[in-house]
């Protein structure tokens, strides 16, 4: 899998994720599946 150049470090890309409906267990694997719009939310609701 090609490395993600920026801005995510290898550590963050490899973090085990927790959450809902996750398509893969790490960001690296999620990004490897195809174009992804990562949306950081300020809060829920």
């Amino acid at each position: 899998m090609a490395p993600i150049a920026t801005p995510f470090s290898a550590d963050v890309l490899a973090l085990p994720l927790r959450g809902r409906n996750l398509p893969a267990p790490t960001l690296a694997e999620i990004f490897g599946k195809g174009p992804t719009l990562l949306a950081l939310l300020r809060h829920l609701g």
């Binding site: 090609a2 490395p3 993600i4 150049a5 920026t6 801005p7 995510f8 470090s9 963050v12 973090l15 994720l17 927790r18 959450g19 809902r20 409906n21 996750l22 398509p23 960001l27 999620i30 990004f31 599946k33 195809g34 174009p35 992804t36 719009l37 990562l38 949306a39 950081l40 939310l41 300020r42 809060h43 829920l44 609701g45």
Partner: protein
């Protein structure tokens, strides 16, 4: 922002996979998105590790509750979006990052909590960003 993204993603002919990141616990996220957007992928990041990776973990109070945020709050209420009590860190700041081809090919990094992209133009903007990655054919 999640409600607007959901509306745009559902209405667009093509749209990249959406993965939300929120600063609340996995349990709080599950409870919220079970009704708000049941099929969306949502990462719980209560320690703000992903936010910190892109410098979005240290929102200033002025950015979060100051005048730049008032307009967005008014638009949200007028649009029928009434927020509840925030869950998770109040220092998390929003941001949109389109990741493709090994890097970030488009982003919207708000100056304040009231600064949102033009969601009506978002599908076209993302299409253009992704088209720039496509191999060119011909001379």
């Amino acid at each position: 922002m999640a409600q607007e993204l959901r509306r745009v993603a559902h209405g667009a002919g093509s749209f990249p996979a959406v993965v939300l990141v929120h600063p609340a616990s996995p349990e709080q996220g599950d409870a919220h998105f079970a009704s708000a957007w049941p099929e969306v992928a949502a990462i719980a990041d209560p320690h703000l590790a992903i936010y910190a990776a892109v410098g979005r973990d240290e929102g200033r109070w002025w950015d979060i509750v100051g005048p730049p945020a008032w307009g967005a709050a008014a638009r949200a209420v007028l649009g029928g979006y009434v927020g509840g009590v925030p869950k998770g860190s109040v220092k998390a700041m929003s941001g949109l990052y389109l990741v493709a081809g090994g890097g970030v090919v488009w982003s919207h990094v708000p100056e304040s909590s009231g600064d949102h992209p033009d969601f009506s133009q978002l599908p076209a903007e993302l299409d253009r960003a992704l088209a720039g990655l496509a191999p060119r054919v011909g001379p």
